[in-house]
Amino acid sequence: MVLNPMHQFEVYKIGPEINIGGINLSFTNASFFMAISAILILSLLFFGTKKKSLIPSKIQLITEMSYALIAKMINDTAGSSAKAFFPFVFTLFMFVLFCNMVGMLPYSFTVTSQIIVTFVLAATIFIGVTIIGFIKHGIKYLELFVPKGVPIVLLPLIIVIEIISYLARPVSLSVRLFANMLAGHTMLKVFGGFVISLGLLGGWLPLSFAVALTGLEILVAFLQAYVFAILTCIYLNDALNLHH
């Protein structure tokens, strides 16, 4: 049971079952670790900005670096008109990053390895960006689906292709994060299982692999949060500035 590599992704409820209007709203281990990540982010930002010294302490440095990273990212990819969306992108980045990183701790649960979590995040971005595009450009936002310089004969086909490629955005955004976290954690567990089953004699090779993979997983955890945020910026850019 413990050696099963998929066992770590099981969602179970903590405490009493809560049913409101036929919807199961029980507090699960997933919600518990989401709450932990949120509290960690809040405390990091709180303690990081508490003492604003000229020579920053380590915690203040981390806070300022994360701020600068996202501010630069928005400026580079979406332009200065997207500055208003800084809080949203920053929250998104920090939440995904902390969920990934908390998942790297032993005995913890990786929230982002559940497709429903990543899909809800991606769908929120997708719907929000679409609404922003329509508010900003009105009906002209539909021009996104009509590339310039296409013969009229091909237009019906091209429009269908463009709509499908637009609808594929939330799917690719959510599947990327989910698949990376799921695959990485499964692989770590499989190598961990090898260490146990090969014992003291042959277990050293998979153990060294597991150590190396842990380093790789930490890199992937950061990278996926970064990619998630940068794609949000790219989609925002499409909605705000409307050109390919």
């Binding site: 086909l157 269908v160 292709i161 463009e162 499908i164 490629s165 609808l167 594929a168 955005r169 799917v171 690719s172 599947v175 990327r176 698949a179 990376n180 890199l219 950061f222 990278l223 996926q224 970064y226 990619v227 940068i230 794609l231 390919h244």
Partner: protein, 94 residues
Amino acid sequence: MKDFKEISTRLKIAKKNVREIEEKNRGSNATSLGKALKISTELVAAVVVGSTIGFLLDNWFDTKPLLTICFFIIGVAAGILNVFRSAKKMQKKL
């Protein structure tokens, strides 16, 4: 007053140097790995979305399996278009 001017010119030169180093380093760090991971899912997602739309329309109009096949092919086209676009965007940045 003279000192102040000198400091401001030196600051300008230093800032310019920093900017040049930043320009040089762009794209050489971990973000390129992120881009590589990004492209791989883009192709698959469009195919899945296209096939799903075809399957739903098939169930609606009772034309199995005609529309699924058509939309699968259109989904592949959309996926290739997506990959092509992000590759183009990357080239522009370099």
